[in-house]
Symmetry: C2
Subunit: 342 residues, 2 copies
């Protein structure tokens, strides 16, 4: 990880020397209120109108590990960290209502960067009609910038867990697959111009938030958002539910084709099967799929001595993904045949 | 700030090389559920039973800035960061129901330290009957350890804001004043043995959580928790309400006496008037004080050309406190006479 900040982060007035209230004075006016917000941030705490069940989740991004200064603007990062938390709320079947944002940063980061970050946060919140409920602004050692988001949402009815998939259910996706990973691949290889949509998706995920409550209403039996890759996240549903997900590569061919021209056929399959940060929704349905969802496979019971898991064209697919302490890249559960050679 | 971790943090098995799920396997069993917790952490998000109004707040502590390895065990820090967030919920008049915890850490920190941290978190949660609703565990550059907590609470009735103090109200406190600051002073001067209660309060604040809803029910017109010092926090009520708080030094004499033997008379006044991290509750009441609260002054309207603020024995008191970016120690609003010389 970098111990020095790049020029994107430091161009302008450094936070060092500014009062916290001055910084907040530049940021807070960017955040819109919402009908759910009874007491806005600024007192000891905010007060949010809630119903019987509230969904809560949190996620953190760290400079140098989750994003690189050279690849993402502050607004991109603000947008992304909010969007991925809202996706978790949607993946339970809920409607996001609010977020809390914590920025812990090297005080050599500029006020301008922080204001741009806040703009990205505000944009992602406005798109989802979500209020900023609070936050914290703290200094960190040199080179450190991290942003932590907690999201809240309202849940009508029952939550859609990972554990409810049953044999006979259909496996379906709402949203794209592999675009964000292809974008990351292109940024890594300094080829961003080869697929600007993929690069944009990497920088600013666009989770189909409305599809979460929609799927819940349509009787989805299990759901999550694709944050660590179709195989790894599908494996989570499979293990939690004690089932096997059989994915149909034909149903994924269009996703592969979408990025194959830019990254090559082999990498395209990697992106679609194992690419993270897409934040599309993956669910299982006992009945017909709701509008906007597309079938990519089916659920069956494990055969004798077969472990729950994900198969592609009947074979165990490579499991790749990201583990924060075990090291990036290939996961430790990388086993089995490559379905593309099947 | 330190770029190397002390032995307290690194003694044992480093996180580096462990899978995130292995680490969580040691931590999650320490956390108790609660009747409010409908879906525990482990899915995309947790689901909490809520009522019409939910209080939310967040706060972060960073190694080297908010605590020193040599002064606080991991369990102390876990306890403290939870307690200070729960105090914010209580200070709105609410009952805390849940917390989310994010740990971003140098992977050379040991599993044992993290488990001890989780024990302190669990103890503070259990004392308040609060559930852990989720969290995040991420790696950070060398030397960085930070813990972020978001707390939720249920609010019956109206929130108690900072802006409701009115001329004629009484100013009151529930809990101690100056103990945590005296403890910090003793730790700084390597004299912890001179007042072990004060040092313990510095390490583990003990906010009177039940006094928050109690004060709300008794008609408190304004309230907050004393996190940055009586003068600075009192000033927040004064400015938000457009009033002057007149504090009576006689009413504070017992607080001063409590620590004067250990830190000296002058420092004791500093601790009581300006000491942070106490997390006692400061409120204003138009009517009689509820049980457990003690009067320390009164509220009046500003005189012509007088700004809202806090007076001690009729004089502007020194305003000290902590500002994250402006540098620690004396704040920039340090003006006026020293009331101890008045």
């Amino acid at each position: 990880m970098p111990s020095r900040l790049g020029p994107t982060l430091t161009g302008g007035t450094p936070l060092r020397g500014l009062e916290e209230e001055d910084v907040l004075g530049h940021i807070l006016p960017l955040f819109r209120s919402s009908p759910d917000l009874i007491v806005p941030p600024g007192d000891d705490a905010a007060v949010l109108a809630t119903e019987e069940r509230t969904i809560v989740t949190t996620d953190t991004v760290v400079l140098g590990r989750d994003w690189l200064d050279a690849w993402s603007s502050a607004a991109d990062i603000g947008h992304k960290v909010v969007a991925q938390n809202l996706a978790d709320v949607a993946a339970m079947g809920g409607r996001p209502t609010g977020v809390l944002i914590t920025l812990v940063t090297d005080p050599m980061v500029s006020l301008e960067w922080v204001v741009d970050l806040a703009r990205g946060i505000a944009e992602a919140c406005d798109r989802a009609d979500v209020a900023v409920l609070g936050g914290d602004l703290s200094s960190a050692p040199a080179g450190v910038v991290m942003i932590s988001v907690t999201a809240l949402g309202n849940l009508d009815g029952e939550p859609v867990l990972r554990s409810g998939a049953r044999p006979g259910d259909r496996v379906a996706v709402c949203g794209s697959l592999g675009l964000a990973a292809a974008g990351l691949h292109l940024l890594t290889h300094d080829q961003a111009e080869r697929h600007t949509t993929a690069v944009a998706r990497q920088r600013r995920p666009s989770p189909p938030l409305g599809a979460g409550p929609q799927a819940a209403a349509a009787g989805a039996s299990a759901m999550l958002d694709v944050s660590d890759g179709l195989l790894r996240d599908g494996g989570r549903i499979a293990r939690a539910s004690g089932v096997v997900l059989e994915l149909d590569p034909v149903a994924l061919a269009a996703d592969v084709a979408e990025v194959a021209g830019a990254v090559g056929e082999e990498t395209a399959w990697d992106c679609v099967l194992a690419g993270g940060e897409e934040h599309s929704l993956l669910a299982t349905f006992p009945d017909d799929l709701p509008t906007g969802w597309r079938g990519i496979g089916s659920v069956r019971a494990p055969r004798p001595a077969e472990a729950p898991g994900v198969l592609v064209e009947g074979r165990t697919a490579r499991q790749t993904g990201w583990d924060h302490f075990g090291g990036g890249g290939a996961g430790t559960d990388a086993v089995g045949d490559d379905p593309r050679q099947g």
